[in-house]
């Protein structure tokens, strides 16, 4: 039986076991939406803005490990989706974005709602397709899903002109995709693995540097076992929070600009850094010339282009972190004498005791770190935590007690304000049984505030804890530190929304809290309310994120305390 292109899209999504599509209809994609109307196999969630839809698909993918699917129309539909696509690309999140396009005959004529979609998404997708003929459609969709989740994952964009959604052909969905030009390496080279094991054996001060690739490859069980048995200290990047439990004795904390002193000193003093799916981001390394001067690097990554990109790598291993560690495990268990790192761990523990992550609590004003720690105590241990971008993001990464990977959803690479709330909605859709909390700021939350309605409509009760300092806090902090406190366009105190009324106007529930008691009460109520909630927490306006490696400084030169003026 012949099917239209629109029907083929639906059937292909069903073949891929898609449970939910996040999207927004429009002219060029209408035929596909007509078929969505007629089917019952998957759910469609209508966002209020295409950016929200893509972040929802992203949050769904991060929390569930499945491919997130977003659907938008041509022109402005697609351009509104761009920030969402770029966010997923930078953090290697598997997604398929389907956009409508003007009919093939109109492409290039400046038609209504036409934009060169594949031209726009080319640098921010793993791959993209313009479907010019319905006979290619099923294959391309299969390839899109395959590319999105294989190798180093990433978003894949499929642009479908309107006439292709009408044209008919027999539906044949390929069983499997074989590409001559794309064969990701999963298994690590045996000799390279042996050499790395030898290096680990010889090292006196080794450290595991755990990155987002460890989460994506599902390696956390192995990593926990290896760290426990070898007793080699470990640090985590922002993207890897939760791979080790927060209370793991070998975890020195988060590394980088706002990492812990012990974690940064572990990198600084190490003689061997074993990178597990991390990419030596500039926020991690600090000043690159001074980074880990005495260390050799073992770099395990599925993407060969990451190896040696930032630092010279003596022991490169191209492969999937989980599969490489599976091959390494027997050697490590047999050959590593775990007692020999006692001294090294002792040194790092002294750093930990000397300069632990800390803040000065107060009875007069709420400290943001207290809010995060308190939330960690009140919320169930498996609650999903998302963040927007700014000070609250770093405080969350520092102070929330993460217990498992995929627990923290945050825009680590691109740093997208407005990510947290829609991502939390998507995560809630994927993990209905979990409490989902978004830590946000009074700046970030405004960037996708419209999605309260989506949460209301689809019963996705996400709790937004707004750490409200009436500032664009992170920029304010930099202005104070590096621009002589000239607060250019960062003071938001003159106009603030009434978050309580705002939530209520869109079917949510709101709280404005100024004391610790009020906060505890509000959070407990919000969790029980099963509504989208805003908890507007008035925090200490001038609290800084510390410690901090100033931009372009070596990791060891951390600012630990605030100058008391």
């Amino acid at each position: 039986m012949k099917m239209t292109g629109a029907q083929i899209v639906i059937e292909s999504l069903i073949k891929e076991n898609v449970e939910v599509v996040f999207g927004y209809p429009g002219g060029a994609i209408m035929n596909v939406y007509d078929e969505i109307y007629k089917q019952n196999s998957f759910k469609h969630i209508l966002a209020k803005h295409e950016q929200g839809a893509v972040h929802m698909a992203d949050g769904y993918a991060r929390a569930s490990g499945k491919v997130g699917v977003a659907m938008v129309t041509s022109g402005p539909g697609l351009t509104n989706a761009i920030t969402g696509i770029a966010t997923a690309y930078t953090d290697s999140i598997p997604m398929v974005i389907i956009s409508g396009q003007v009919p093939t005959t109109a492409i290039g004529t400046d038609a209504f709602q036409e934009v060169d979609a594949v031209g726009v998404t080319r640098p921010i997708t793993k791959h993209n397709f313009l479907v010019k003929d319905v006979k290619d459609l099923a294959y391309i969709l299969k390839e899109a899903f395959y590319l999105a989740k294989s190798g180093r994952p990433g978003p894949v964009h499929v642009d479908i002109p309107k006439d292709v959604t009408i044209a008919k052909i027999k539906f044949e969905y390929p069983e499997k995709i074989e590409l001559k030009t794309y064969k990701p390496t999963y298994k690590g080279n045996k000799r390279a693995i042996k050499r790395a094991v030898e290096a680990i054996k010889k090292a006196k001060r080794p450290v595991f540097y755990i990155g987002g690739g460890s989460v994506l490859s599902g390696a956390y069980g192995l990593i926990r076992e290896i760290v426990k048995t070898t007793k080699i200290p470990a640090v985590e990047t922002l993207m890897a929070r939760g791979v080790l439990r927060y209370d793991c004795p070998y975890l020195m904390g988060m590394v980088g600009m706002h990492g812990s002193y012990a974690a940064n000193m572990a990198m600084n003093d190490a003689d061997l850094i074993i990178s597990l799916g991390a990419r030596f981001d500039d926020r991690v390394t600090g000043k690159i010339d001074e980074f880990a001067k005495n260390a050799d690097i073992v770099h395990i990554d599925i993407d060969p282009s990451q190896i040696g990109k930032v630092v010279p790598t003596k022991y490169p291993i191209v492969g999937d972190v989980r599969m490489v560690l599976e091959d390494m495990l027997p050697f490590l268990l047999e050959e590593i004498d775990s007692s020999k790192y006692e001294d090294w761990k002792g040194v790092l523990n002294r750093y930990k005791e000397l300069y632990p992550l800390s803040y000065k609590d107060s009875d007069e004003v709420i400290k943001p770190q207290w809010v995060i720690q308190k939330t960690g105590e009140i919320a169930p241990e498996d609650a999903i935590i998302s963040t927007d971008v700014g000070q609250h993001q770093m405080w969350t990464a520092q102070f929330y007690p993460f217990t498992y990977p995929r627990q923290l959803l945050t825009s680590g690479g691109l740093g997208t304000m407005g990510f947290g709330f829609p991502a939390a909605l998507g995560a809630k859709e994927g993990k209905k049984d979990k409490v989902v909390i978004n830590f946000t700021g009074d700046g970030s939350i405004m960037m996708n505030i419209q999605e309260v309605l989506t949460g209301y409509k689809y019963k996705l009760p996400v709790i937004n804890i707004i750490l409200n300092n009436n500032y664009l806090g992170m920029v304010r902090q930099w202005q104070t530190m590096f621009y002589n406190d000239r607060l250019s366009e960062t003071d938001l105190s003159d106009v603030q929304p009434d978050f309580v009324k705002l939530a209520e106007s869109m079917g949510g529930i709101g709280y404005r809290v100024k004391t610790k008691d009020e906060f505890e009460k509000a959070l407990k109520e919000a969790i029980d309310s099963k509504k989208v909630a805003f908890i507007d927490v008035q925090i200490d306006r001038r609290e800084d994120v510390l410690p901090m490696v100033p931009p372009n400084s070596p990791l060891k030169n951390m600012l630990i305390f605030k100058d008391e003026k």
């Binding site: 993209n128 313009l130 001559k180 030009t181 060969p304 282009s305």
Partner: protein
């Protein structure tokens, strides 16, 4: 530093744009670029000449490998390099020197390709640096030349 690479990639729409974008996104100029299909295959071969920091170039090459339609990136310092150039002389400028020009062109694997009442066209095929020399010599001696260069093509020895 001058670098030449060859890229074997799927012969499909958008593939060229993906490759070129790697250079554009880093603010790198492509000195020359040739593309044509490889006979009896679904692939095309691109030859790209560019200049720049070797470290950034190495990163570009790695990123090129990562592109889905790219099959192979060939870097070699043992390429045979060839380029074609066509030079158009106004007839009045060279009408007394046709024999000289033809003789010189033959030294560069070329000849006079066309003559009409307005102009003489000479084509030569050689290594890019030899083409440079040929063109310099012609430009010193004659005026108002029009030059078209094909860009370099290479094959591994």
């Amino acid at each position: 530093m001058k670098r030449i690479i060859s890229v074997i990639l799927e012969n499909e729409h958008g593939a060229l744009a993906r490759v070129v974008n790697m250079f554009a996104a880093r603010g790198y100029n492509i000195t020359s670029l040739t593309v044509s299909p490889i006979p009896n295959s679904e692939f095309s071969r691109m030859t790209i000449m560019s200049e720049g920091d070797p470290k950034i170039f190495e990163q570009i090459v790695k990123q090129l490998y990562k592109l889905i339609p790219v099959y192979k990136v060939i870097e070699s310092d043992d390429f045979i390099e060839k380029e074609m150039a066509m030079v158009k002389f106004p007839l009045k400028e060279v009408k007394d020197n046709l024999a000289d020009i033809d003789a010189l062109a033959r030294c560069y694997n070329g000849k006079i390709s066309n003559v009409n009442d307005k102009s003489v066209v000479v084509s030569v095929v050689d290594r890019p640096n030899r083409i440079d020399n040929f063109l310099k010599a012609m430009q010193v001696k004659y005026k108002n030349l029009e030059v078209v260069r094909s860009g370099v093509s290479v094959i591994e020895r």
